[in-house]
């Protein structure tokens, strides 16, 4: 297999974006191209993989062609990759695979979502489209409810508390203060987060990520090409992906996401490392309970100990062994569904190149991204390294 590196990464700010879909995508592509050290011509790109749920249906079909052309890649093979919130995590995997297999040398991976140009009613309608429609949705569930069911069951089985979840929220808000791209750049005191308005019992407002606009773009290159473009490539050391039952009622447990475990096992094996080797992890915290479960499923905490991990602040930037969501995570950096997975890699790219400014994770050499679709029906895990051994 051909070694693959990320040689460029850029994104828009996540949050309320005033522009149109094309504007956002162009901004992310421009930031990405500007981050490449050498001369990069987009006309040399072999493939474009664009993650998006096409939220709102504004450009539901042929989204990738629509956007590739606009960003100077007319004629390039392009397709939209859709796996709910894990769309660009899987677009990344597709980009990696196309280079690793020798089929391509230069690939653009992107993610984009426009969510805040819809009326509140229409927005709400679209937020529930990635769960099991016939049986879950019509039992009243959208994702806040789905993750609330997981939180309550985890508390029942393992004794985690809502305060544990509040610690995650407070941490991620604190991390986002230093992130110029974050949707919510405000510190939230523990007492305020603990007393948030109820959304889906036991989850409150401060347990839920915001609804964000945003775009992110990555350039992947084969090893030889990467070395010609930069002296500091970020190597993709492991790629893992898996799927699981879409519907909660088909799962044996609500306190673990098997797709995360399977994808992580693949990625760790490919990279030849374990969770103890990670300096940082950008995990999919669409809800605080999702981060708690991720710390267990990725092996950062023992099974049932995710609450303790959060309570003891082991994921705080530069305090524990592994910084968890040093960017602010989905909770505070924001969650523009299809852009989230690529956005996680933008953060890793900066961190491993020591370009993250005030939020720099000390001596970051090894990083993981964890991107989940819906309530865990899909998951992509990637591991990155600063230097190739």
């Amino acid at each position: 297999m051909v070694d693959v590196a990320v040689v460029g990464a850029g994104q828009t700010a996540f949050g309320q974006h005033p522009g149109a879909m094309k504007d956002m995508w162009s901004e992310a592509v421009r930031a990405c191209v500007n981050s490449v050290d050498g001369d990069l011509s987009l006309s040399d790109v072999d493939e474009v993989f664009l993650g998006s749920t096409a939220f709102g249906g504004g450009q539901l079909g042929n989204t990738a062609a629509y956007l590739a052309e606009h960003a100077g890649m007319a004629g390039v093979s392009a397709r939209r990759v859709e796996n709910a919130c894990a769309s660009s995590g899987f677009a990344l995997r597709d980009g990696w695979a196309s280079i690793a297999s020798g089929r391509a040398d230069l690939v653009v991976v992107g993610g984009l979502e426009t969510m805040n140009d819809l009326t509140p009613e229409r927005k709400r309608y679209w937020l529930g489209v990635s769960g099991d429609t016939e049986w879950e949705r019509l039992a009243g569930l959208t994702f806040p409810g789905t993750y609330a069911l997981m939180a309550r069951r985890h508390a029942h089985e393992h004794g985690s508390t809502h305060d544990d979840l509040v610690h995650i929220s407070v941490k991620n808000h604190a991390h986002a203060l230093d992130n110029e791209h974050a949707h919510l750049r405000k510190a939230v005191p523990f007492e305020k987060a603990a007393a948030g308005a109820m959304i889906a019992d036991p989850l409150t407002l401060y347990d839920c990520c915001p609804t964000s606009d945003g775009a992110a773009c990555l350039v992947l290159a084969s090893a030889d090409l990467a070395r010609s473009l930069t002296d500091t490539p970020v190597w993709m050391r492991g790629s893992g992906a898996a799927s699981d039952h879409l519907a909660l009622h088909d799962r044996p447990s609500l306190t673990t996401l098997p797709a995360t475990k399977k994808a992580a096992a693949q990625a760790y094996a490919a990279a030849g490392i374990g969770p103890m080797d990670l300096d940082m992890a950008e995990v999919h915290d669409c809800f605080t309970i999702a981060e708690l479960l991720a710390t267990e499923d990725l092996g950062l905490a023992d099974v049932g100990e995710g609450g303790t991990f959060a309570r003891e602040g082991r994921g705080r930037r530069n305090e524990g062994r592994t910084t968890v969501n040093g960017s602010g995570g989905l909770k505070a950096k924001g969650h523009p569904l299809g852009a989230t997975g690529a956005g996680q890699v933008v953060e890793v790219f900066k961190q491993l190149r020591q370009q993250a400014g005030p939020r720099q994770v000390r001596d970051a050499e090894c990083a993981l991204t964890h991107n989940v679709g819906g309530s865990g029906a899909t998951c992509a895990v990637h591991i990155f390294g600063r230097d190739r051994a």
Partner: protein, 268 residues
């Protein structure tokens, strides 16, 4: 008429030759249906009570005013026979199943009665009317009429695929038949639950969830093995917790394309 007891969220009493089920809901002292109930759901309820009392489920042809598909699908063992003297009688917010003739209920039990706020009740009636109009179109996700009809046996009669697997998956790659798992018992235990605020409700519930103050959803471990996700029945106290026992009753779920769609909801 004997003293009433609660059954499937209604007030059940024995009358001469049969059973009478009256709604326990009141608006300004007058009887009313539960927010998600009607004659169709109460007919299923009283026939389930009839079957539970050991009587055979063979009745004269069902009267007008019911959704026959819903009643027959909810009660897979129900047989309509022209020769049967057991009849279903629809009254004002009450239903009786009687061997012979039945008369209009003369009184309404007060024990177990639940008062509905008149304004909320009127708004819910209006919401159902809006929801049933053809101009009400759900967005973002959609269950087609065909998909809904294919799932009715599982949704109402709890028919399972061999295993038992519920809900049935349809034809699978191993060729397992859709049927063969029998009909599951409508009872189970709460595995997890949540109460979602109205703003988070799926679009199918957008008109009524604000009036109901949100939706309570539960993952239920069915007594026959499989697990399912269910709403709590509207109007009743949804004071549930993990480990609580629930019974699954037929209620209105929502309306789509001008048609009311029914399913099982949990009642604690």
């Amino acid at each position: 008429m004997t003293a009433s007891r609660t059954f499937n969220g209604g007030l059940l009493s024995e009358v001469e030759g049969g059973l009478l089920l009256q709604s326990c809901f009141r608006v300004n002292g007058a009887p009313a249906f539960a927010p998600d109930a009607d004659h169709t759901t109460m007919s299923v309820d009283v026939l389930e009570a009839w079957a539970a009392s050991g009587c055979p489920l063979e009745v004269a042809p069902l009267p007008d005013g019911l959704d026959r598909d819903v009643v027959l699908t909810s009660l897979p063992n129900l047989v309509e026979a022209a020769s049967s003297t057991v009849r279903l009688h629809l009254f004002d917010h009450a239903v009786a199943v009687v061997n012979g003739e039945a008369s209009e209920p003369k009184g309404w039990p007060t024990d177990g009665a639940i008062d509905l706020d008149p304004e909320m009740h009127a708004n819910l009636e209006h919401a159902w009317a809006l929801e049933r109009s053809l101009t009400n179109v759900s967005q973002g996700a959609y269950v087609s009429d065909r998909t809904h009809r294919l799932g009715m046996g599982a949704r109402l009669g709890l028919s399972a695929q061999a295993g038992p697997t519920w809900p049935p998956r349809g034809a699978d790659v191993d060729g397992h038949p859709l049927s063969g798992g029998g009909h599951l018992q409508p009872s189970g235990t709460v595995y997890s639950w949540t109460r979602l605020i109205a703003a988070g409700a799926p679009s199918e519930f957008a008109l009524r969830a604000p009036l109901l103050g949100g939706l309570t959803s539960m993952v239920i471990d069915l007594d026959d093995g499989p697990r399912g996700v269910f709403l709590h029945a509207d109007g009743h106290d949804a004071n549930v917790d993990i480990g609580h026992r629930v019974r699954l009753v037929v209620r209105r779920l929502y309306a789509q394309d001008g048609v009311l769609r029914y399913g099982r909801k949990a009642l604690s």
